[in-house]
């Protein structure tokens, strides 16, 4: 499809244009970059909701029920489901779409024109998201979806990228997940705006809820202390994290919702709380704060990526030269770096 056709298609609500745009962006085609530049002005309206959690907790089912509920409320919903892709073979089995079914099996979410579902492979990237998930979300945003659900697998310490793209982050758990320490290390206890204990009809749900409450309380206290001692700057990339946690902790205590997703129980409550959070973000000015912080990080990471690209592509040989010198003990690493930076600064 030609670039202009795609842009026009995006403006006209053409599904295929959107699908193709996503493909170009995902695969880093030059058209992709161009499309992102052109549509950026239209972004910033959607409520981006991230849903993460260990495999098997029922994320896909929860997402599916949320889609139905949001549709009932008249919202247009876009879904991005990211599944792990093998870093070795490059392949991936994307199986989230097939769990998409509303509670009412006769209301077909697959055919609903107000729903768009896209499966993505993480393509071997750690963090739970694919490199281009953020851009894909922006495309859906620009296309006109009111709510965008992003589903990712959070299974390890670094699978917390979801905060990079989501306004509201939901962490889904289930009872008896075993090792509490595992969960603690996973970092997911720090990112949730909302916590869901799914499969609440299984034994042990109350215990899990209690434990979560205590974790959240401890976190609140830690954050309060942090707030009193830190001078974090929202624009600074490194302190952004801390700033985020401080600000987050102050006015919004993450609620814990219990659900039995495949029976649809607790979903109404969950939707309520999601909307409450969005309103809270908007009215407290936090929405802007978060976007400032996220965009600082994003622009920063693009810059570092560009620099890395320069080093590798344009200055490749100079870089290797300089590294040789360090290896041969002629200069030290800091001097080596200074040399390169000087060259980059002074050249055109």
């Amino acid at each position: 499809m030609r670039l202009e056709d795609i842009i026009k298609g995006l403006e006209n609500g053409n599904r295929r244009a959107l699908a193709r745009a996503i493909t170009y962006v995902e695969n880093d085609y030059p058209e992709g970059k161009e499309i992102m530049k052109r549509i950026f002005k239209k972004t910033g309206n959607a409520h981006v909701v991230g849903i993460t959690g260990f495999p098997g907790v029922g994320k896909s089912t929860t997402v599916s029920k949320l889609v139905q509920k949001f549709r009932e409320k008249g919202r247009k919903v876009g879904v991005v489901a990211v599944d792990p892709g093998s870093p070795f073979t490059g392949g991936a089995l994307l199986g989230d779409r097939l769990r998409m079914e509303g509670l009412d099996v006769s209301k077909n979410l697959w055919l609903d024109p107000g729903v768009f579902f896209r499966s993505m492979s993480s393509r071997g990237r750690a963090g739970g998201l694919a490199a281009k998930t953020g851009d894909v979300i922006r495309l859906l945003d620009a296309f006109g979806f009111d709510t965008i659900l992003v589903e990712t697998v959070g299974a390890g310490q670094s699978e917390v990228d979801i905060v990079e793209v989501a306004d509201t982050s939901i962490v889904v758990m289930m009872p008896e997940m075993g090792d509490d320490i595992q969960i603690n290390k996973a970092g997911i206890l720090e990112i949730g705006d909302i916590y869901v204990v799914n499969k609440a009809d299984l034994g042990g749900a109350e215990k899990t809820v209690k434990w979560l409450k205590s974790m959240i309380m401890m976190d609140q206290e830690a954050v309060n202390i942090l707030g009193r001692t830190s001078h974090a700057d929202e624009y600074a990339v490194e302190s952004g994290e801390i700033f985020e946690r401080m600000k987050r902790g102050k006015d919004w205590v993450p609620p814990i919702i219990t659900t039995v997703a495949d029976k649809g129980e607790g979903i109404d409550e969950l939707v309520d709380v999601i909307e409450k959070h969005f309103n809270h973000l908007k009215s407290s000015g936090k929405l802007k704060e978060r976007r400032v912080r996220r965009i600082s990080r994003e622009v920063f990471s693009i810059i570092t990526e560009e620099i890395r690209s320069i080093l590798v592509n344009e200055r490749g040989s100079k870089f290797r030269e300089v590294v040789e010198m360090v290896v041969n003990n002629e200069i030290d690493p800091h001097t080596a770096a200074e040399k390169i930076i000087l060259e980059i600064r002074t050249s055109g």
């Binding site: 089912t61 199986g95 769990r99 099996v105 495949d262």
Partner: protein
């Protein structure tokens, strides 16, 4: 054999291995590094008395017709009566199937078996948009009692036994058969046949899914409760491993999951208050017969022994008839190839022989063109002849359980039983002591689906990498152009069926239909047995879709959580 003699044997074996075997192997080698059955059981070079020293003939094997029935459920087995030759068939409309049945009965078939089309299997009427393109394709289309009247026209229900491969709408089909019997004036106590009626295996493998697992089991239990009182000679369920195997499981998994399902159903019946000794004779099983000859024979023998022990020891059934595992076998459809199809005749023969040596009560042999489409007349005849040649020319049925006492077969029977028990204990743990809860939990968690998926992926990898030979497919291939007559289904079948349905809906008493359906809804909602209401609805010419529709209303529709 006493211990002293066993020690002698073991010593002699070591000697043989060192002095006779090893030099031979060193010089000439063996075909493979390792030999395994399709379940991954390592098969040794040979077996001797030492390998079966732990078995006791009277305790573990015994005589046919005597606990634990390892050698067969009847004292005379095929010397008394041959297995029933029951070929699965049905396609197009009820008229076409009726004609094919009359042909088969003439050719010597001794029992009828019905295949239904997909819409009928799913409880969907032929005029529903979801049925488009599928009416009459893989079996006969049945929407109302009228189709049954045509199906059984000229076929006396007191003289034949009919088996129905039907699951979610099994209650409806049973009701239709009973209604025909009533019409012919045959007393209900004389009706013989089987409804497959095994929803658990649908959730594990076959995927004909309509209602969720618990309501499905509820309705099956209703059928048990009603059936023991009303149709005491009719098999109310065919607890199946066939489909589990077709989905890619190993022989051990087929054995274990089938027995586990059987236990789950028995527990459901006991919970309902059904007399286990009344029900047990009306339970039957359905197994696959695959290529690994001895593994299959061992599987059947192990199944009998396990079930006898379970019914007597675990569930306390008192009547010896309750301890019998009676089964139907079908040769493995998934083993047939589209390449060089005549080879399939050989495969089917080996599989049929295994079933007979395993003591099956009835047998379906696949037709050689089964990989392409529903079988042609010629192919069906050859499949039937295969059974007849085994029966009358081979001498195999002339002595009972001839492989008993074979060191290998007894060892393998015991081995498979042990491996199957491992699975059963695992499932029992999942259910905290209850097999019924264990199986239901396993369904919810995807335990069965994952096990079967894994086995089927491993098998495929073995085939792709040449470790498993499939003659004609990955070895001994040829360039070929097929000339087998393919039986194609007339596209007009759908049209005719829809017209018939329209006429029936116009001519029937719609008030009676509505009343019956209301009664059904009531029964379902109030946890009453649904069979009486279904029978009423069926006699009023309610359609399958209408009846299933009421059940879906009350119990909800099920979407399987897919796991790969």
């Amino acid at each position: 054999m006493e211990n002293r003699k066993i020690e002698e044997v073991k010593k002699e074996r070591k000697k043989w291995e060192n002095s006779c075997l090893t030099p031979y192997v060193d010089r000439f080698g063996e075909r493979n590094e390792m030999f395994e059955t399709l379940s991954g059981i390592k098969v040794n070079r040979l077996y001797d008395p030492a390998d079966v020293a732990h078995l006791d003939y009277l305790r573990d094997i015994n005589y046919p017709g005597q606990y634990p029935y390892t050698r067969g459920v009847y004292p005379t087995m095929y010397r008394g009566r041959l297995w029933t030759m029951r070929q699965f068939s049905g396609f197009g409309t009820a008229e076409d199937t009726n004609a094919r049945w009359k042909l088969l009965l003439k050719e010597g078939q001794t029992g009828l078996s019905t295949a239904f089309d997909f819409p009928t299997l799913m409880g969907i009427d032929s005029d529903n948009s979801l049925a488009d393109g599928e009416v009459g394709k893989v079996g006969v289309a049945v929407d109302t009692l009228k189709d049954f009247e045509i199906l059984f026209d000229g076929i006396p229900l007191d003289k034949v036994s009919t088996s129905f491969t039907i699951n979610p709408p099994a209650a409806i089909i049973l009701a239709m058969y009973v209604a025909i019997g009533d019409m012919q004036g045959v007393p209900r106590e004389q009706l013989r046949g089987t409804i497959q009626n095994d929803m658990l295996k649908e959730f594990h493998a076959q995927n004909t899914l309509v209602l969720p697992p618990e309501p499905s089991v509820r309705i099956i239990t209703d059928i048990f409760e009603w059936g023991v009182e009303n149709v005491p000679k009719f098999n109310l369920i065919s607890i199946s491993g066939y489909h589990i195997r077709e989905a890619g499981s190993t022989a051990v998994q087929e054995l274990a999951f089938t027995i586990a399902d059987g236990m789950a159903y028995v527990e459901a019946a006991i919970e309902r208050g059904v007399d286990i000794d009344k029900l047990a004779p009306q339970l039957s099983f359905f197994f696959n017969s695959h290529n690994n000859f001895f593994e299959e024979i061992a599987k059947f023998r192990a199944a009998r022994r396990m079930w006898a022990r379970i019914m007597r020891e675990e569930y306390g059934a008192k009547d010896p008839r309750s301890w019998w595992l009676k089964f139907h076998t079908q040769t493995a459809g998934c083993s047939l190839t589209a390449q060089q199809p005549l080879n399939n005749i050989v495969r089917t023969t080996i599989q049929a022989m295994a079933a007979v040596l395993g003591g099956t009560q009835s047998l379906h042999t696949n037709s050689f063109d089964e990989a392409w489409a529903l079988p042609s007349e010629e192919a069906v005849r050859v499949a039937l002849r295969t059974q007849q040649i085994i029966a009358f020319e081979s001498g195999i049925p002339d002595t009972i359980d001839p492989l008993a006492g074979s060191y290998f077969v007894e060892w393998l029977t015991d081995k498979m039983e042990k491996l199957a028990w491992n699975y059963i204990e695992q499932i029992r743990k999942m259910g905290e002591g209850s097999m019924l809860r264990g199986v239901l939990k396993g369904i919810e968690d995807g335990f069965f689906v994952k096990e079967i998926s894994r086995a089927s992926a491993e098998y495929q990898r073995d085939v792709e990498e040449g470790r498993r030979v499939i003659v004609g497919v990955n070895r001994y291939t040829i360039e070929e152009k097929l000339k087998i007559p393919i039986l194609k289904v007339d596209e007009a079948v759908q049209r005719r069926q829809i017209e018939r349905l329209k006429r029936i809906k116009a001519e029937r008493d719609n008030e009676a239909v509505k009343n019956a359906l209301d009664w059904l809804r009531n029964s379902a909602e109030n946890h009453e047995n649904v069979m009486p209401a279904i029978l009423e609805a069926v006699k009023a010419y309610a359609t399958e879709g209408e009846i299933m529709g009421v059940l879906k209303e009350v119990y909800g529709t099920y979407r399987k959580p897919i796991l790969i």
